[in-house]
Amino acid sequence: MDKNIKILIVDDFSTMRRIIKNLLRDLGFTNTEEADDGTTALPMLQTGKFELLVTDWNMPGMQGIDLLRHVRADENIASMPVLMVTAEQKKEQIVEAAQAGVNGYIVKPFTAQTLKEKLEKIFERLNA
Protein backbone atom coordinates (compact mmCIF):
# COMPACT_ATOMS: atom_id res chain seq x y z
CA MET A 1 0.00 0.00 0.00
CA ASP A 2 1.52 3.32 -1.09
CA LYS A 3 1.24 5.66 1.88
CA ASN A 4 2.24 8.70 -0.16
CA ILE A 5 -0.94 8.83 -2.24
CA LYS A 6 -2.84 12.12 -2.17
CA ILE A 7 -6.24 11.84 -0.48
CA LEU A 8 -9.14 14.31 -0.57
CA ILE A 9 -11.41 14.36 2.50
CA VAL A 10 -14.89 15.85 1.88
CA ASP A 11 -17.26 16.58 4.77
CA ASP A 12 -19.27 19.67 5.70
CA PHE A 13 -18.29 19.40 9.37
CA SER A 14 -14.74 20.51 10.05
CA THR A 15 -14.50 18.30 13.16
CA MET A 16 -15.26 15.18 11.10
CA ARG A 17 -12.65 16.23 8.51
CA ARG A 18 -10.12 16.66 11.32
CA ILE A 19 -10.96 13.26 12.81
CA ILE A 20 -10.58 11.50 9.45
CA LYS A 21 -7.38 13.43 8.72
CA ASN A 22 -5.89 12.40 12.09
CA LEU A 23 -6.94 8.77 11.67
CA LEU A 24 -5.41 8.68 8.18
CA ARG A 25 -2.21 10.23 9.50
CA ASP A 26 -2.09 7.59 12.20
CA LEU A 27 -2.32 4.97 9.44
CA GLY A 28 0.60 6.64 7.70
CA PHE A 29 -1.32 8.65 5.08
CA THR A 30 -0.07 12.18 5.61
CA ASN A 31 -0.75 13.59 2.15
CA THR A 32 -4.34 14.84 2.59
CA GLU A 33 -6.43 17.83 1.58
CA GLU A 34 -9.94 18.87 2.60
CA ALA A 35 -13.11 20.21 0.98
CA ASP A 36 -16.44 21.07 2.62
CA ASP A 37 -18.85 19.80 -0.05
CA GLY A 38 -19.08 18.29 -3.52
CA THR A 39 -19.12 21.64 -5.30
CA THR A 40 -15.71 22.60 -3.93
CA ALA A 41 -14.38 19.04 -4.12
CA LEU A 42 -15.11 18.33 -7.78
CA PRO A 43 -12.79 20.98 -9.32
CA MET A 44 -10.05 19.86 -6.90
CA LEU A 45 -10.49 16.26 -8.02
CA GLN A 46 -10.52 17.27 -11.68
CA THR A 47 -6.97 18.60 -11.35
CA GLY A 48 -6.06 14.90 -11.32
CA LYS A 49 -3.69 15.11 -8.38
CA PHE A 50 -5.77 12.95 -6.01
CA GLU A 51 -5.65 9.17 -5.86
CA LEU A 52 -8.37 8.52 -3.28
CA LEU A 53 -11.61 10.27 -2.31
CA VAL A 54 -13.12 9.95 1.16
CA THR A 55 -16.53 11.64 1.20
CA ASP A 56 -19.59 12.20 3.38
CA TRP A 57 -23.05 11.83 1.78
CA ASN A 58 -25.26 14.52 3.30
CA MET A 59 -23.75 17.92 2.55
CA PRO A 60 -25.14 21.28 1.44
CA GLY A 61 -24.40 22.17 -2.15
CA MET A 62 -23.43 18.99 -3.96
CA GLN A 63 -24.03 15.80 -1.99
CA GLY A 64 -21.55 12.94 -1.76
CA ILE A 65 -23.59 10.61 -3.97
CA ASP A 66 -23.67 13.22 -6.76
CA LEU A 67 -19.96 13.86 -6.34
CA LEU A 68 -19.40 10.12 -6.76
CA ARG A 69 -21.53 10.11 -9.95
CA HIS A 70 -19.60 13.10 -11.32
CA VAL A 71 -16.31 11.33 -10.64
CA ARG A 72 -17.50 8.14 -12.38
CA ALA A 73 -18.77 10.19 -15.35
CA ASP A 74 -15.47 12.05 -15.86
CA GLU A 75 -13.19 9.75 -17.84
CA ASN A 76 -10.01 11.38 -16.46
CA ILE A 77 -10.83 10.48 -12.86
CA ALA A 78 -13.47 7.75 -13.32
CA SER A 79 -11.25 5.01 -11.91
CA MET A 80 -10.46 6.84 -8.66
CA PRO A 81 -11.39 4.76 -5.59
CA VAL A 82 -14.13 6.40 -3.51
CA LEU A 83 -14.79 5.63 0.15
CA MET A 84 -18.05 6.91 1.56
CA VAL A 85 -18.19 7.75 5.27
CA THR A 86 -21.74 8.69 6.22
CA ALA A 87 -24.49 8.58 8.84
CA GLU A 88 -26.97 7.32 6.22
CA GLN A 89 -27.98 3.79 7.23
CA LYS A 90 -30.93 3.08 4.94
CA LYS A 91 -30.43 -0.10 2.95
CA GLU A 92 -31.88 1.65 -0.08
CA GLN A 93 -29.13 4.27 0.10
CA ILE A 94 -26.32 1.77 0.60
CA VAL A 95 -27.56 -0.04 -2.50
CA GLU A 96 -27.77 3.28 -4.36
CA ALA A 97 -24.15 4.07 -3.46
CA ALA A 98 -23.06 0.60 -4.55
CA GLN A 99 -24.84 1.04 -7.88
CA ALA A 100 -23.19 4.45 -8.33
CA GLY A 101 -19.84 2.67 -8.03
CA VAL A 102 -18.63 3.30 -4.49
CA ASN A 103 -15.56 1.29 -3.42
CA GLY A 104 -16.31 1.24 0.31
CA TYR A 105 -19.11 2.33 2.63
CA ILE A 106 -18.53 3.20 6.28
CA VAL A 107 -21.39 4.23 8.61
CA LYS A 108 -20.83 6.82 11.31
CA PRO A 109 -19.94 6.50 14.11
CA PHE A 110 -16.98 4.41 13.04
CA THR A 111 -13.69 3.20 14.51
CA ALA A 112 -10.09 3.64 13.39
CA GLN A 113 -10.03 -0.13 12.81
CA THR A 114 -12.97 0.02 10.37
CA LEU A 115 -11.30 2.79 8.38
CA LYS A 116 -8.09 0.77 8.24
CA GLU A 117 -9.88 -2.40 7.08
CA LYS A 118 -11.85 -0.63 4.35
CA LEU A 119 -8.76 1.15 3.02
CA GLU A 120 -6.81 -2.11 2.96
CA LYS A 121 -9.66 -3.79 1.12
CA ILE A 122 -9.80 -1.01 -1.47
CA PHE A 123 -6.04 -1.17 -2.16
CA GLU A 124 -6.06 -4.98 -2.15
CA ARG A 125 -8.65 -4.92 -4.93
CA LEU A 126 -6.82 -2.20 -6.87
CA ASN A 127 -3.65 -4.25 -6.88
CA ALA A 128 -5.40 -7.52 -7.68
Binding site: T15, N22, N58, E88, Q89, K90, K91, Q93
Partner: protein, 245 residues
Protein backbone atom coordinates in the same frame (compact mmCIF):
# COMPACT_ATOMS: atom_id res chain seq x y z
CA UNK B 1 -97.27 21.00 11.11
CA UNK B 2 -93.99 21.90 12.73
CA UNK B 3 -92.57 25.39 12.94
CA UNK B 4 -89.14 24.63 11.50
CA UNK B 5 -87.18 27.13 9.42
CA UNK B 6 -88.63 25.72 6.21
CA UNK B 7 -91.55 23.38 7.04
CA UNK B 8 -94.32 25.81 8.11
CA UNK B 9 -97.78 27.21 7.19
CA UNK B 10 -96.27 30.21 5.33
CA UNK B 11 -94.35 28.00 2.95
CA UNK B 12 -97.39 25.75 2.46
CA UNK B 13 -99.38 28.85 1.44
CA UNK B 14 -96.57 29.86 -0.94
CA UNK B 15 -96.63 26.38 -2.47
CA UNK B 16 -100.37 26.62 -3.11
CA UNK B 17 -99.95 30.11 -4.61
CA UNK B 18 -97.08 28.85 -6.82
CA UNK B 19 -99.23 25.97 -8.09
CA UNK B 20 -102.10 28.38 -8.81
CA UNK B 21 -99.81 30.83 -10.66
CA UNK B 22 -98.30 28.08 -12.83
CA UNK B 23 -101.76 26.69 -13.69
CA UNK B 24 -102.95 30.23 -14.55
CA UNK B 25 -99.89 30.65 -16.80
CA UNK B 26 -98.88 33.69 -14.67
CA UNK B 27 -95.15 34.12 -15.48
CA UNK B 28 -94.64 37.19 -13.27
CA UNK B 29 -96.43 35.70 -10.24
CA UNK B 30 -94.51 32.40 -10.57
CA UNK B 31 -91.17 34.23 -10.67
CA UNK B 32 -92.00 36.32 -7.56
CA UNK B 33 -92.91 33.26 -5.51
CA UNK B 34 -89.78 31.34 -6.62
CA UNK B 35 -87.61 34.39 -5.74
CA UNK B 36 -89.28 34.51 -2.31
CA UNK B 37 -88.51 30.82 -1.76
CA UNK B 38 -84.87 31.27 -2.83
CA UNK B 39 -84.45 34.17 -0.37
CA UNK B 40 -85.90 32.05 2.41
CA UNK B 41 -83.51 29.18 1.56
CA UNK B 42 -80.46 31.48 1.44
CA UNK B 43 -81.33 33.17 4.73
CA UNK B 44 -81.49 29.79 6.40
CA UNK B 45 -78.07 28.90 4.95
CA UNK B 46 -76.49 32.18 6.11
CA UNK B 47 -77.92 31.68 9.56
CA UNK B 48 -76.44 28.20 9.69
CA UNK B 49 -72.98 29.41 8.54
CA UNK B 50 -73.14 32.24 11.08
CA UNK B 51 -74.03 29.79 13.81
CA UNK B 52 -71.13 27.49 12.89
CA UNK B 53 -68.65 30.39 12.77
CA UNK B 54 -69.77 31.56 16.20
CA UNK B 55 -69.48 28.06 17.58
CA UNK B 56 -65.98 27.62 16.20
CA UNK B 57 -64.90 30.98 17.56
CA UNK B 58 -66.39 30.17 20.98
CA UNK B 59 -64.73 26.79 20.99
CA UNK B 60 -61.32 28.26 20.20
CA UNK B 61 -61.75 31.02 22.81
CA UNK B 62 -63.01 28.58 25.41
CA UNK B 63 -60.04 26.43 24.60
CA UNK B 64 -57.94 29.30 25.93
CA UNK B 65 -55.07 28.74 23.57
CA UNK B 66 -55.17 31.96 21.58
CA UNK B 67 -52.67 33.67 23.85
CA UNK B 68 -50.51 30.66 24.42
CA UNK B 69 -50.20 29.94 20.68
CA UNK B 70 -49.33 33.57 19.94
CA UNK B 71 -46.81 33.44 22.71
CA UNK B 72 -45.31 30.25 21.34
CA UNK B 73 -44.97 31.57 17.79
CA UNK B 74 -43.59 34.94 18.82
CA UNK B 75 -41.38 33.92 21.65
CA UNK B 76 -40.88 30.24 22.47
CA UNK B 77 -40.14 28.88 19.00
CA UNK B 78 -37.60 31.57 17.93
CA UNK B 79 -36.17 31.15 21.41
CA UNK B 80 -35.88 27.38 20.91
CA UNK B 81 -34.19 27.96 17.56
CA UNK B 82 -31.65 30.21 19.21
CA UNK B 83 -31.07 27.68 21.98
CA UNK B 84 -30.53 24.85 19.51
CA UNK B 85 -28.07 27.01 17.58
CA UNK B 86 -26.25 27.52 20.85
CA UNK B 87 -26.11 23.72 21.25
CA UNK B 88 -24.48 23.44 17.81
CA UNK B 89 -21.95 26.15 18.67
CA UNK B 90 -21.18 24.63 22.07
CA UNK B 91 -20.68 21.08 20.77
CA UNK B 92 -18.62 22.25 17.79
CA UNK B 93 -16.45 24.29 20.15
CA UNK B 94 -15.96 21.30 22.46
CA UNK B 95 -15.01 19.06 19.54
CA UNK B 96 -12.55 21.69 18.28
CA UNK B 97 -10.89 22.13 21.66
CA UNK B 98 -10.58 18.37 22.10
CA UNK B 99 -9.15 17.86 18.62
CA UNK B 100 -6.64 20.67 19.11
CA UNK B 101 -5.47 19.16 22.41
CA UNK B 102 -5.11 15.74 20.76
CA UNK B 103 -3.34 17.10 17.69
CA UNK B 104 -0.85 18.92 19.91
CA UNK B 105 -0.33 15.86 22.14
CA UNK B 106 0.42 13.32 19.42
CA UNK B 107 3.79 14.81 18.30
CA UNK B 108 4.90 14.98 21.96
CA UNK B 109 4.08 11.27 22.39
CA UNK B 110 5.76 10.37 19.11
CA UNK B 111 8.90 12.27 20.12
CA UNK B 112 9.07 10.59 23.54
CA UNK B 113 8.44 7.20 21.97
CA UNK B 114 11.31 7.67 19.46
CA UNK B 115 13.72 8.77 22.17
CA UNK B 116 12.77 5.85 24.41
CA UNK B 117 13.28 3.37 21.56
CA UNK B 118 16.71 4.82 20.83
CA UNK B 119 17.78 4.78 24.49
CA UNK B 120 16.47 1.26 24.96
CA UNK B 121 18.68 0.09 22.12
CA UNK B 122 21.80 1.70 23.60
CA UNK B 123 20.85 0.45 27.07
CA UNK B 124 20.71 -3.16 25.80
CA UNK B 125 24.20 -2.71 24.33
CA UNK B 126 25.37 -1.42 27.69
CA UNK B 127 23.85 -4.28 29.74
CA UNK B 128 25.41 -6.78 27.34
CA UNK B 129 28.76 -5.06 27.86
CA UNK B 130 29.03 -4.11 24.23
CA UNK B 131 29.60 -0.44 24.96
CA UNK B 132 32.87 1.47 25.31
CA UNK B 133 33.43 4.47 27.55
CA UNK B 134 32.71 6.92 24.72
CA UNK B 135 29.43 5.15 23.98
CA UNK B 136 28.46 5.28 27.63
CA UNK B 137 29.16 9.02 27.85
CA UNK B 138 26.90 9.47 24.84
CA UNK B 139 24.20 7.30 26.42
CA UNK B 140 24.19 9.12 29.75
CA UNK B 141 23.88 12.43 27.88
CA UNK B 142 20.99 10.96 25.90
CA UNK B 143 19.29 9.75 29.10
CA UNK B 144 19.76 13.18 30.65
CA UNK B 145 18.12 14.88 27.65
CA UNK B 146 15.34 12.30 27.62
CA UNK B 147 14.44 12.82 31.28
CA UNK B 148 14.33 16.56 30.72
CA UNK B 149 12.05 16.31 27.65
CA UNK B 150 9.93 13.79 29.54
CA UNK B 151 9.21 16.08 32.45
CA UNK B 152 8.44 18.95 30.09
CA UNK B 153 6.43 16.69 27.77
CA UNK B 154 4.37 15.20 30.58
CA UNK B 155 3.52 18.59 31.96
CA UNK B 156 2.34 19.72 28.51
CA UNK B 157 0.40 16.48 28.07
CA UNK B 158 -1.26 16.96 31.44
CA UNK B 159 -2.30 20.44 30.31
CA UNK B 160 -3.82 19.00 27.12
CA UNK B 161 -5.67 16.29 29.07
CA UNK B 162 -7.10 19.00 31.28
CA UNK B 163 -8.25 20.86 28.15
CA UNK B 164 -10.01 17.70 26.97
CA UNK B 165 -11.61 17.34 30.40
CA UNK B 166 -12.82 20.93 30.47
CA UNK B 167 -14.13 20.73 26.91
CA UNK B 168 -16.77 18.26 28.16
CA UNK B 169 -18.58 20.98 30.13
CA UNK B 170 -20.94 21.43 27.17
CA UNK B 171 -22.85 18.26 28.10
CA UNK B 172 -24.52 19.76 31.15
CA UNK B 173 -25.65 22.92 29.34
CA UNK B 174 -26.73 21.29 26.08
CA UNK B 175 -28.59 18.59 28.02
CA UNK B 176 -30.66 21.20 29.85
CA UNK B 177 -31.34 23.17 26.68
CA UNK B 178 -32.42 20.12 24.71
CA UNK B 179 -34.74 19.04 27.54
CA UNK B 180 -36.47 22.43 27.38
CA UNK B 181 -36.87 22.21 23.63
CA UNK B 182 -38.30 18.68 23.96
CA UNK B 183 -40.90 20.04 26.40
CA UNK B 184 -41.81 22.83 23.99
CA UNK B 185 -42.22 20.37 21.12
CA UNK B 186 -44.48 18.24 23.33
CA UNK B 187 -46.63 21.29 24.13
CA UNK B 188 -46.91 22.30 20.49
CA UNK B 189 -47.89 18.73 19.63
CA UNK B 190 -50.60 18.72 22.33
CA UNK B 191 -52.03 22.00 21.06
CA UNK B 192 -52.04 20.83 17.47
CA UNK B 193 -53.92 17.67 18.43
CA UNK B 194 -56.53 19.76 20.31
CA UNK B 195 -56.84 22.13 17.37
CA UNK B 196 -57.49 19.22 15.04
CA UNK B 197 -60.21 17.99 17.42
CA UNK B 198 -61.84 21.46 17.57
CA UNK B 199 -61.85 21.66 13.80
CA UNK B 200 -63.51 18.24 13.75
CA UNK B 201 -60.88 16.80 11.47
CA UNK B 202 -59.90 13.95 13.73
CA UNK B 203 -61.56 11.32 11.53
CA UNK B 204 -59.97 12.51 8.32
CA UNK B 205 -56.55 11.03 8.76
CA UNK B 206 -54.78 11.57 5.50
CA UNK B 207 -51.89 9.29 4.79
CA UNK B 208 -48.69 11.30 5.02
CA UNK B 209 -47.12 11.67 1.62
CA UNK B 210 -44.14 9.48 1.00
CA UNK B 211 -40.86 11.26 1.57
CA UNK B 212 -39.14 12.47 -1.52
CA UNK B 213 -36.10 10.47 -2.50
CA UNK B 214 -33.93 13.53 -2.11
CA UNK B 215 -34.65 13.76 1.59
CA UNK B 216 -31.95 11.90 3.51
CA UNK B 217 -32.70 10.11 6.75
CA UNK B 218 -29.60 11.20 8.67
CA UNK B 219 -28.13 9.44 11.69
CA UNK B 220 -30.15 6.53 13.07
CA UNK B 221 -31.58 7.27 16.53
CA UNK B 222 -32.33 4.37 18.91
CA UNK B 223 -36.09 4.01 19.35
CA UNK B 224 -36.96 6.03 16.25
CA UNK B 225 -38.10 3.90 13.35
CA UNK B 226 -36.61 5.22 10.16
CA UNK B 227 -37.56 2.40 7.86
CA UNK B 228 -35.36 -0.26 6.38
CA UNK B 229 -31.99 0.53 7.91
CA UNK B 230 -28.87 -1.35 8.89
CA UNK B 231 -27.62 -1.26 12.46
CA UNK B 232 -23.89 -0.90 12.20
CA UNK B 233 -20.92 -1.57 9.98
CA UNK B 234 -21.30 -5.38 10.03
CA UNK B 235 -24.74 -5.18 8.43
CA UNK B 236 -23.45 -2.71 5.82
CA UNK B 237 -20.69 -5.18 4.96
CA UNK B 238 -23.18 -8.07 4.79
CA UNK B 239 -25.50 -6.10 2.54
CA UNK B 240 -22.68 -5.09 0.22
CA UNK B 241 -21.25 -8.59 0.02
CA UNK B 242 -24.75 -9.90 -0.81
CA UNK B 243 -24.61 -7.48 -3.75
CA UNK B 244 -21.33 -9.04 -4.85
CA UNK B 245 -19.00 -6.51 -3.27
Amino acid sequence: MSNDALVNEDNLARARDLQACIKADDEKGTKEIIDDLTDIRENALYQEVGKLTRELHDAISAFGMDDRITDMTHHDIPDARQRLNFVITKTADAADRTLTAVEESIPICENMEQQAVSILESWRQFTQREMDAEGFRKLSKEIDGFLLTQSEGFSTLKGHLNDVLMAQDFQDLTGQIITRVINLVAEVEGNLVSLIKVAGLAEHHEQPQEKSRQELEGPAVPGVDSGDTVSGQDEVDDLLSSLGF
